[in-house]
């Protein structure tokens, strides 16, 4: 039932975010798809899809930041945390469920817009390889996991319906900006999400090697941030 609660709690924001992400992607491919395909054929359309993916990554960060803003501190602000904390469930369990629901929604926010783009490409006569779409989604989620856990951590440390998302988005922006230089770019989760490394503008496809090491490093940092979030909430006085 905690999963059901987490779903009821976030479903409105999730649906709005999902519709927003799908609309964003479709708007771009419909607007510029014909022109791109007309000038360079398949490669032109594939380039466009890759470019839209970078935009989707940006929307995705914003969406998951707001989706992860629930939790016990938010419930404390509205007064419902006492009820939740009186349930025979540990704080860790509550947090795992909330993070789990947020992660599933984050996956949906990456997958569904891509399904829409795949359908558009198929209708346009230039079917996009499903494996390439999966690879884009995987990159988005690998780098995005870090932003997801930053939002989760901030929601576990900062009270306030508006303060927490602003702080979280601010930290994410600073992180991306600070890692923009040539030497540091490879550690930039935003760059990984956009799939900039190993992309061929000639074919419009990802051709480089999978960045497993970087993905693993981001996962380790994300796990650390998650652990800090849990400790913070476990020691919090409600």
């Amino acid at each position: 039932m905690l999963w059901h609660k987490a779903w009821l709690e976030t479903r409105s924001q999730f649906v709005i975010a999902l519709v927003g992400c799908v609309a964003f992607c479709l708007m771009w491919v419909i607007e510029f798809g014909k022109g791109a395909a007309g000038s360079r054929g398949q490669a032109g359309l594939f380039d466009l899809l890759h470019g839209v993916h970078a935009g989707l990554a940006f929307c995705w960060i914003l969406a998951v930041t707001f989706l992860m803003m629930g939790g016990l501190l938010q419930e404390k602000a509205v007064g419902a945390s006492s009820f939740t904390l009186a349930l025979p469930v540990s704080r860790l369990h509550l947090m795992l469920v909330r993070f789990g629901m947020g992660f599933l929604q984050a996956i949906a926010l990456a997958v569904v817009p891509w399904i829409a783009m795949l359908l558009y490409a198929a209708v346009a006569g230039y079917p996009y390889p499903v494996l390439q779409a999966c690879f884009h989604i995987l990159l988005l989620l690998s780098g995005g996991l870090l932003f997801l856990t930053i939002a989760f951590l901030i929601s576990s440390l900062v009270e306030g319906q508006y303060t927490a998302p602003v702080v979280s988005i601010g930290i994410s922006a600073v992180l991306v900006y600070a890692l923009r230089g040539e030497k540091l770019a490879r550690y930039n989760p935003g760059r990984m999400m956009a799939g900039n490394d190993g992309f061929s503008w000639r074919t419009g496809l990802l051709v480089g090697q999978a960045q497993f090491l970087h993905a693993a490093a981001f996962a380790v940092v994300a796990a650390l941030l998650f652990a800090i979030s849990v400790k913070a909430i476990e020691h919090y006085d409600f």
């Binding site: 039932m1 059901h4 609660k5 009821l8 709690e9 509205v78 007064g79 419902a80 945390s81 006492s82 009820f83 904390l85 009186a86 349930l87 025979p88 469930v89 540990s90 704080r91 476990e234 020691h235 006085d237 409600f238």
Partner: protein
Amino acid sequence: MTSTCVIETHALSKSYGRVEAVRGVSLSVKSHQITAFLGLNGAGKSTTIKMLLSMIRPSGGSGQVLGKSIDDAKDSVHLRGQVAYVSENKQLYGYMTVEQMIRFTRSFYSDWRVDIERRLLSTYELPLTRKVASLSKGMRTKLALLLAFARQPKLLILDEPSEGLDPLGIEQMLESLVAQCSEGTTIFFSSHQIPEAERVADQVCILHRGRLVLDSSLDDIRQSYRQLELVFLTVPEESSVRVAGVESIRTVGRQMRVVVSGNADLLIERAHDLHASSVEVTPVGLREVFMETVKGK
């Protein structure tokens, strides 16, 4: 912990910076009784209750509820399976309907009583399909009480349970408390509504500025507390009537009003020695005891 105590704390305290919200509270709540936890606003009642439920970590002291330590996270989860709690603000999940709220809560407890749930749904006239967010404060309180009562817990902790209820709602709530207690549930409720406590409580604890200033059975209070109206031709010094058990002395003109928690006979004797022209002894209600206790400290 003694076998008859469901809540036992020793020197429990909580500080927020320099502010001491709870100061060395040593509390013993006996099983199968209704204990009223009284105090003014900001006395530290809610903080104490939240410490008992591990929502707040104590700054000092220790406590046990149903034999489980309030400091141990694992014990606390197990404990919350046997304790029902209604919080001060009665806020629930606004995005759920009444029915979803009941179904959600029921899923955590194997001891859920569907018969009580149905009876209270009918008594409280709660609309199942309405969103919790759209309920009035009174209705929300009734829903919170239903969620607690329908569990038949070993211990029921209520923080200001009557707040937001109309007189009929208060009556129904008090009746439910007595019924629950008769079925074996220990009840510990905080309030600043003295008449409610006086009607149903077996034991009374008064918290004032974070300190436990009274812990006594209501029967003992009724038996030992007395108000003496002493009239003198020449009013003596207050110190001359201050014997053990005197809680407060108020002098107006030639009249001295003394509230005692014991030793009334000794004070009567002393008043006669001081040539009191009139000595009148009257029983004291819980309201007066409460007022004198918190005024005098």
